[in-house]
Amino acid sequence: MNISIGNQDSLEWIQLVVSSFITLIAVFLGAWIAFRFEVNRDARKDNRRHVSAINRTIFSFGAATNKLLMIKMQAIDPIRNHPLYFLEMRPLLDEELESVTSIVFDDMNFNLETEHRNLLMELFVEQENKYHICDSETAVETPLLRNATKAFSGRYSSCQHDRSCDDRGAFRKPAI
């Protein structure tokens, strides 16, 4: 009699353990699936964000390339073989060089976690070197010189700049 009661108790206990275990497994599976679903959703969202950032960057560089190409075709190529090309070159407006769109590097930071880490630096160098804008002191009234110095790398000092203007007899912005 005692044995049967003991068996019944142990059976109930086993049933309890099994049902608890099944509940535990079900809860775990549910949580795991929800977690995986959330991870996948985040990954898809990141993916879309990254693709969008890449496309924006490609567009920025495409626009910049197009702008430079237009300058080359309209201002440089027609006078390239002219003996006095440095005087004949069509002046460029500031807007032609300055309105080039820029890259939002925060959006492209994900590259640092990929095998293409150097790409970000390459893009940064491309943008910074080619579109360095000098300070206003060097913005003299000779469009050609402004083209040479203001837009590209600021390698020349304002002193050299002024001397060039004097050589050419160009109007120089008075020092304030």
């Binding site: 560089f61 390339t65 050589d167």
Partner: protein, 60 residues
């Protein structure tokens, strides 16, 4: 001096065009590797505006 500056500007523009093209190419390659199932901007030509007339009012 003006001649040097002009030469330098011309060279820089030429170099900038080439390096920009290269940067876009590298960016496209990297993008394709990272996200092979996505579509990225691919430029067939950078000078589509070539056939458009130059705006005379831009001449200074």
């Amino acid at each position: 001096m003006i001649k040097e500056l002009t030469n330098d500007a011309i060279n820089r523009i030429d170099e900038a065009i080439e390096s920009h093209k290269k940067a876009i190419e590298n960016l496209n390659k990297a993008a394709k590797q990272l996200y092979p199932n996505n579509i990225f901007i691919k430029f067939v030509s950078y000078d589509k505006l070539e056939s458009q007339p130059v705006n005379e009012s831009d001449d200074v």
